[in-house]
């Protein structure tokens, strides 16, 4: 395989050891690698239950019937194929900072995409800004990775973020529930806690990956600042000193904790990553330790 410009081949080799995991039990076609709590046409025996009219006669335990003269139906464990969707923030707020959060998020998305492809998962990369962009669906093995990388490289950041709008569009566009990995800075002036809650309520399992640059969390500036919002273009003139910086960091951390609370409350995960962390450290560090990747 040709080395990817987003992720070097050495990291790709290491990523082959990982697999994407989720907690919820989703219905789906056989062929996945995550066990579902739902019974279905699987290979592994799960339990017996009473036979009801309409049940498949092929699942009747005839040996038990001969011995007990009662019809018992064998139930099997299902390993369904679940769609993994990666929501990638492509708004202008991702372009600020010394190290571009957008590039960092693309690399993270590429790494997760490669992990899924190796395990024969179906990956859907869904860029979003104010609205959902054109998605890219790939599956069937690692040889589909290069088109996914090309798709990621062709993405351009633009516009602002509107989580309400994209949550609405996402629910209507993707009725099948599954794992939803959102890579974003989650900086929406309207707030993103409620839209995320809606997505979770709809049945998706949320993996929230918050990416920030160092100066996003703790600006090193001092004195009189003329600030411009990267998405809205709004201006703000403030005097910034150590006390203001402390307030800023506290507000940022509070907001990050709110996002984290939303993710954890609904059975999902949350991770906050600084762009100062390398992709390899992020994947094999906090993300792998959480159980989202094994």
């Amino acid at each position: 395989m040709k080395p990817s410009p987003l992720i070097d081949s050495a990291l790709l080799e290491k990523l082959e050891r990982l697999a994407i995991r989720w907690q919820k039990s989703f219905p789906g076609l056989v062929g996945g690698h995550n066990i579902s709590h739902f019974a279905g046409p699987g290979q592994e025996f799960l339990d017996h239950r009473q036979f009801h009219h309409g049940d498949d006669l092929r699942a009747v335990n005839w040996r038990a019937y001969l011995r007990l003269e009662k019809l018992f139906l064998k139930m099997f464990q299902v390993e369904p194929r679940i769609p993994v969707r990666i929501l990638l923030d492509c708004s202008n707020s991702m372009t600020t900072g010394g190290v571009s959060k957008f590039d960092y998020a693309r690399k993270l998305a590429a790494a997760l995409c490669y992990v899924g492809l190796v395990r024969l998962d179906t990956i859907c990369i869904q860029p979003f800004g104010e609205r959902l962009g054109d998605s890219f669906l790939c599956g069937g093995g690692r040889h589909r990775f290069i088109p996914a990388v090309n798709f990621l490289q062709d993405l351009k950041p633009s516009g602002r973020t509107s989580y309400f709008q994209i949550a609405r569009e996402f629910i209507s566009t993707y009725p099948q529930r599954g794992l939803l990995i959102i890579i974003s800075d989650f900086l929406d002036d309207a707030g993103c806690e409620r839209p995320l809650q809606y997505l979770s309520d709809f049945g998706h399992e949320l993996d929230l990956v918050q990416v920030w640059a160092t100066e996003d969390r703790e600006p090193a500036w001092e004195g009189q600042l003329d600030l411009t919002d990267a998405e809205t273009g709004a201006k703000l003139e403030i005097g910034f000193d150590d006390a203001a910086r402390r307030n800023y960091v506290e507000a940022f951390d509070t907001y990050a904790r709110d996002i984290q609370r939303v993710g954890l409350r609904n059975g999902g995960r949350y991770v906050g990553i600084s762009t100062a962390t390398t992709i390899e450290e992020a994947v094999f560090g906090p993300m792998a330790r959480s159980g989202g990747l094994e």
Binding site: A220, Q224, L227, I238, G272, S274
Partner: protein, 636 residues
Amino acid sequence: MFFLNLSLPEFLTILGSLSGVVVALYLLDRMRKHHTVPTLRFFAATEKPPVLKHRHKLQQPWSLLLQLISLLLLLLAIAQLRLGSPARSSRDHVLILDVSPWMAARLGPNRLIDQARLAARNYVNALPLADRVMVVRAGVLATPALLFESDRNKIQLAISQTQPGAASLNLQGALDFAQRAQRVQAQRPGEIVFIGAARIPSEEAARLDPPPNFRFIPIAGPSEHVGLRKMSVHRAMDDPDAWEVFFAVKNYGTAPRSIPAVVNFGGAPVATRRFELGPGVEESFSFRFRTRARGWLEARLASPDAFQRDAFRPDSRAILELPPRGVAPVTIYSAEPDLLRPVFTAIPGIQASFLPIFKYDPKARTGVVVLDHFAPSSLPATDSIWLDPPADKSPIPVRSVEANVKLNQWAADHALGAGLRARDIELSSAEILRAAPGDITVARSDAGPLIVARPGMPKMVVLGFHPIRSGMKYQLTTPLLFANIIRWMQPDAFRSWELTAGGAGTVDVELESETAPNTVRVQTEDGKSLPFTIEGKTLRFFTADPGIVRVLAGDRELVYSLTLPQPGDTVWRPSNVKVGLPGRAPLGPASRDIWQWLALAGAAGLFADWILYGRIDRRIRAASGALPNEGWRKAS
């Protein structure tokens, strides 16, 4: 309080410029900055009303003040601010020690150099401890023994290692060197001190121009002295076995002296002479004596009583080594030796032997072989002269044999034809030779070359006619031609020698004619080449070391035995200069350096500014900063 490195205007100019730069950078650093941020929601939460309404208003005046004060302290350190009076600050002195040969003279039990070293130590001890001293040894060259140094041990060591040299004193050169050293290297020029006997040539003493900061510490030497001034030997023009010897004796003292002089060759006296010398009078004496042998020729001022009174002996004796007279052996193989005998016996410096043709020995490897009208089967191994060889066996091919040939052209520009100016010579019969490339045509007729020389090893000259049997028999040209040929073949045997005893330093040599520098060699005793210059007929070379130097120019060799010291004929006594040791300075430095403390305080101020108003805390926090809740959290 004063600056050592900068003047006050320079200091103020630099301080003003730097302060301006600092203030400008300060204002630039604190002007309103524009940034694009991902969201304003967190800034809005911390928003404070803008503090600055005007960009030039100082936001942190104490930081600026601290920076300016620190800058001032650092600049003061660079300017090397000293506490005390500038008149009493440390100075840089140049101590010139006379190392001329005269400093080896004794006055009482001690040599003059010992007294000079003692005076130098006393002078250094009289200086303030912070003063730096450069030690220069002044002979014909001024050689720095120690650069400006305040370490007294190093200065004393450099003084104690100073010894008399072989070359005479060039005092003006030493003073010029000291002034240049003070201009270039001294921080604050002090005195230029000369310690020595200052015995220099009277013409140099008249020209001497001491600098204003000059101090003279004279070392009194012996007043009465007689010595050899010069000695030279060369061969007599009219007798190659005779040497003409010349030497001069000078009375340097103030009283008339009667000094006997003896000249020995090989230990045997060859001449004696008593010089009656008045004060400051120089007399010379020349004589000739004959010898072919090599040996030592020694001129000595021989009176034991005079030596007892004389304090400086090195110029009481001069020795030259006379070379043996060179003789070139010439072997003539001829059937008619009587024809050639008058020619070869007339040439001085050769030893001719005549042998019949059948005794020809091709293995002879020394001298010159003359082959008269015959050609041997094997060529001679040494240089050879062929007289009218058989046409078919000539070593240089014969083009034709012509009758009634007129010899009308000589190669006057070559050593072989030098001085040969005969009128046209009629030859009844002659072989016309064919010269090869590289051959030298010594004589020719209209029909072609008649005498051809072939350089190489061995050399060869072929005459296409017999000079005695032809019209050249009674010409003066004939012995001169053979003399030229033998001189060309055996130059060592005809080398003229001149031997001179003198002192080391710059030596001028008068050449006989304008000579190309590539034909001249100047070598020391061990064969090393010395650099030299030639201007017109004057060759000039320099050596500071005593020894023998040979100058080889063509067939002339001049040998210089530069071992005869040349004390100056007068003792320099300058007027209007400080003389003697200075008064002892107070112990301890007159002014105190505080630049170290100033630099330390300036650095501390900048560091404090960095800590108090800089970004150190922000950088530390940024380096360690991360969200406390960073990491994946499992839902279950």
